[in-house]
Symmetry: none
Subunit: 226 residues, 2 copies
DNA sequence: ACAACTTTTTACAATCTCTTTACAGTGTGT
DNA sequence: ACACACTGTAAAGAGATTGTAAAAAGTTGT
């Protein structure tokens, strides 16, 4: 079940938040100030952080900023006392994902937490590893092996493979790959896809000139087969 | 061709969106406020809805929520002025499928629309597989088997078969096939159709010289029988 | 700024599909 | 039965798509 880290100093607030979250079935841990919060955010790997802006020692904004510069991407939901526009703007600027102004309804807060967790879990729930033929892939570590030997795949190659594998058996068009792997805002030529496929084949196929795993479907696209 | 419903009040925005969509070949209709949007979403059965969050009378979020509670599952792409994460969360919670913040690049928007349409059309549309005699077709995978053996069909042959099967029992003219399978902009000779039919028969008929499934209707066209 | 590496573009060859063509065969109306 | 129109189909040519190497452009780390 999801872990929630609450960084908050007001005891009453802590109590209310903790209760509600536990009632929802989340595992809860609490930090009473920014410093402790930073530590727990790193060590306990929560799935979401509820972060008060007003904290002793170090402000919530700083905690947020530091976490982000450390590359920690856990969703952060800021709690602010006033509904001042400034706080919102600064909060989001500093890397928070969402904010709620006190007093807030618990129901709303829980709904937002749920939404963030849902979105985050969608991103995470990807396949972590996959094996076919004599190739092992670990998408989480971006590591691959073939015949037990380390296999060098570029990030893009990993992403393409991941996409193909996620839809293994189905045909994937070049446009789909461009949209989903490259993203909507960049637009390489569709031939770029073919090139990456060719390179992938040379790396993962037993016989690249006679592909067994990445099959081309003429005029349509490619298909991955285990 | 796909229908796009734009629910947006800013005239300039409407103009830009409309132009771009029409340039892509979509049929476009516009609603200037939430109420009109709700109506058109129901009556015009668009394939995708572009929905501004900030609307007079009724907010885009409400429009979205209402559509969903009415069981309308048309993909909704929300347009919002600020890049505030909050809007995004609420938007997605309320049932939107995607989300773009202004200012956005038209290219990106169109790419997203395309992706959604592709996804949606896949879910709804076509027969995914079909079996007749000893032939099995899987239109999604562009794969065919006969007597359990893999059967090699070209994309065009698949499309022709799909079209004939969708209208099985009915007569289909060569011009119909040319229009629908080939598309309105290309114009091979009608004899080309006959050639493809001949090849199809050799591949799928038990006895190609005595067709049981693809029947010639003299002077008219062809008809598919299971 | 340089080197090492990844990604994208480009170009050409190879391959596959589609279209045209031509002629033989079949159907239709008189 | 005859002429004419329509259809079947093989074969060749045209056209499109894909494979791939190599160059160009872009990134990253030092």
């Amino acid at each position: 079940m999801a872990k929630v880290l609450i960084i908050e100093d007001e005891p009453n607030m802590v109590l209310g938040l903790k209760d509600s979250c536990e009632y929802e079935g989340y595992e809860v841990s609490v930090a009473r100030d920014g410093k402790e919060g930073l530590e727990k955010a790193s060590t306990e790997k929560p799935d979401i952080i509820l972060l008060d802006v007003m904290l002793p020692v170090m402000s919530g904004l700083d905690v947020c900023r530091i976490l982000r510069t450390r590359g920690i991407e856990t969703p952060i939901l800021m709690l602010t006392a006033r509904s001042e526009e400034t706080d919102k703007v600064v909060g989001l600027e500093v890397g928070a994902d969402d904010y709620v102004t006190k007093p807030f309804s618990i129901k709303e807060l829980l709904a937002r937490i749920r939404a963030h967790l849902r979105r985050a879990s969608k991103q995470v729930s990807e396949i972590e590893s996959f094996t076919f033929g004599d190739v092992e892939l670990n998408f989480k570590k971006y590591a691959a092996r073939k015949d037990g030997q380390t296999l060098d795949l570029s990030p893009r190659e990993f992403e393409i493979l991941r996409y193909l594998i996620r839809r293994r058996g189905d045909i994937v068009t070049r446009d789909q790959l461009l949209d989903e792997v490259w993203g909507y805002d960049s637009t390489p030529v569709t031939r770029t896809v073919d090139n990456h496929i060719a390179k992938l084949r040379q790396k993962i196929e037993p016989d690249p000139s006679e592909p067994r795993h990445i099959i081309t479907v003429h005029r349509i696209g490619y298909r991955f087969i285990e």
